[in-house]
């Protein structure tokens, strides 16, 4: 094997890890700052200018904290679970292209770690492995809150995984490849070639499922403070807690990066005349935009109730995602047979479906509002108690 290649991989791995970990640190800063502005507070402003050194201070503080392992906990699983979460979050990023190939020191270096031909499958498979860390962490703490948090997380993740997988299928059908590099190349040129214009519904579905997959508000039931203290990481402290935190925030970056790659042209600039080497900058801008939307949603939207969450996943998102695949298939066939150049048909089908979805959603919410769950136990029990 070529030694130079190995060195290249190691350097790229270090860069990916460095960027993701720094990104994680400043994501926490960005989140605090943005949420505080939205709530008319000042936010972090003591450590350094604009509180920019706060992530560093947090890290140092966590290193010097005592790490508790609760009695009766499964010691080894308890230790391994946070590492598992973090590793999975880090390696998901490996297949995402952040730019074109560049010439450096007489070598052609593609700005991605790996180009596997099943890139998208790899991302889906690896990102759903993250649940193991969460469930095992919750289970091994031997704490009821943690266990419930872990189970909730698992149920939520597997329910939204279905719609997530289906929502990306439209893009795969249009591109005819699972490699993320091919998908980005298929969106080359000006911004109207981006898949978001062909798959608006797929984009929205992916955005919602991505929120649920990363356990972020309004889908943060596994960590609902009012009900479960801190969910699966109730018993974690010090750096072990930091690893779980890291995994969650890096997963946010991953979801944003996949959304940009699949629907917004990845590192491609909005106009064809902009030189290709600006790719990483555009990629960064797109990812930051998504992260901002994440934080914005957290500051705005209240948390769902658990039955609402499951109903929404199984009865709204899953049928919509299936419908999206069917409509895309039909419009693609129509396009190929009757009008080879009409891109419009695919968009049109998707938009039509979206309007139908809005009507479905409105009728569903009005029904769910009317049916309130009983406060204690089943309604029969409640009736018996009052009688």
């Amino acid at each position: 094997m070529d030694l130079g290649l190995l060195v290249e991989w190691i350097i790229k791995s270090v860069v990916i890890m460095g960027v993701l970990l720094t990104g994680f640190a400043y994501e926490t800063w960005l989140e605090r700052k943005v949420v505080s502005k939205m709530q008319f507070r000042i936010g972090p402003n003591r450590a350094g200018p604009f509180g920019l050194l706060l992530p560093l201070a947090d890290g140092i503080k966590l290193i010097f904290k005592e790490e508790l392992t609760p009695a009766m906990a499964d010691k080894w699983v308890f230790r391994i679970a946070p590492i598992m979460s973090m590793v999975v979050a880090l390696i998901t990023f490996a297949v995402i292209p952040v730019g074109p190939s560049i010439n450096l020191f007489g070598r052609v270096i593609p700005l991605r770690l790996a180009d596997v031909n099943i890139g998208l499958m790899y991302v889906l498979a690896v990102s759903s492995l993250g649940i193991y860390g969460i469930v095992l962490g919750g289970w091994s703490s031997n704490n009821k809150y943690a266990l419930l948090g872990g189970m909730r997380s698992a149920a939520q993740l597997i329910s939204y995984e279905l719609a997530l997988g289906l929502s990306l299928m439209g893009v795969v059908m249009l591109t005819g490849s699972l490699s993320l590099v091919d998908i980005v190349n298929a969106q080359a040129g000006n911004f109207w070639n981006w898949n978001i214009f062909l798959q608006p519904l797929g984009f929205i579905l992916y955005g919602i499922c991505g929120l649920a997959e990363t356990n972020r508000a309004p889908f943060d039931l596994p960590e609902a403070e009012q009900e479960l203290t801190a969910g699966y990481h109730t018993e974690y402290s010090g750096m072990k807690f930091a690893l779980f935190f890291m995994a969650e925030y890096i997963n946010m970056v991953n979801v944003s990066a996949i959304a940009s790659t699949m629907f917004l042209g990845g590192w491609r600039a909005p106009f064809g005349f902009i030189p290709e080497w600006t790719g990483p900058i555009w990629f960064f801008i797109k990812v930051i935009t998504f992260l901002f939307i994440y934080i914005w949603l957290r500051a705005t939207v209240p948390r769902l109730r658990y039955d609402q969450l499951m109903n929404f996943g199984w009865k709204v998102l899953l049928p919509l995602a299936i419908a999206n695949v069917i409509v895309t298939a039909i419009t693609m066939a129509l396009r190929q047979v009757y009008a080879p150049n009409a891109v419009v048909t695919v968009t049109f089908g998707s938009l039509l479906l979206m309007i139908a979805a809005v009507f479905l959603w409105r009728s569903w919410t009005s029904r769910s509002m009317r049916r309130r769950p009983p406060l204690h136990g089943t309604s029969a029990e409640g009736a018996a108690r009052t009688a």
Partner: protein, 120 residues
């Protein structure tokens, strides 16, 4: 190609190393003063009642079973999605997928009617 995955292996090994390193560093610098009350599982300040590792509501198992059924269907769909564009004539692919989805939707409606997707 299997060798395409080698760089991912490099990243994997390095991130596992990082995780272990972080825990070792924290162990070296953090204080370790365990007391009995501190090691108790947190239960809102109460003494924990019983073990936490016990049986769970059957709902979770039902969700897991449904997930496996539907997720395998999705995995089978991906190869179709990749070749759909190149199928000649494309109607064959369309007919296949419509037939497949009719079967899936029959199963889905059955689940709905059985009340398998109700969370109360």
């Amino acid at each position: 190609m299997p060798q395409d995955f080698l760089p991912i292996l490099v990243l994997f090994i390095m991130s596992v190393g990082l995780g272990i390193l972080v825990l070792i560093i924290a162990r070296l610098f953090g204080p370790r003063v365990p007391t009995r009350a501190k090691m108790m599982p947190y239960e809102s300040g109460m003494r924990p009642i019983g073990q936490a590792m016990r049986r769970l509501p059957i709902r979770y198992y039902l969700t897991a079973t449904l997930f496996i059924v539907f997720d395998i269907e999705i995995v089978f769909l991906y190869p179709w999605a990749v070749v759909y564009k190149r199928m000649n004539p494309i109607w064959v692919g369309l007919a296949e997928i419509l037939f497949f989805f009719v079967l899936v939707i029959i199963g889905y409606v059955y689940l709905l009617r059985k009340g398998a997707l109700e969370w109360e």
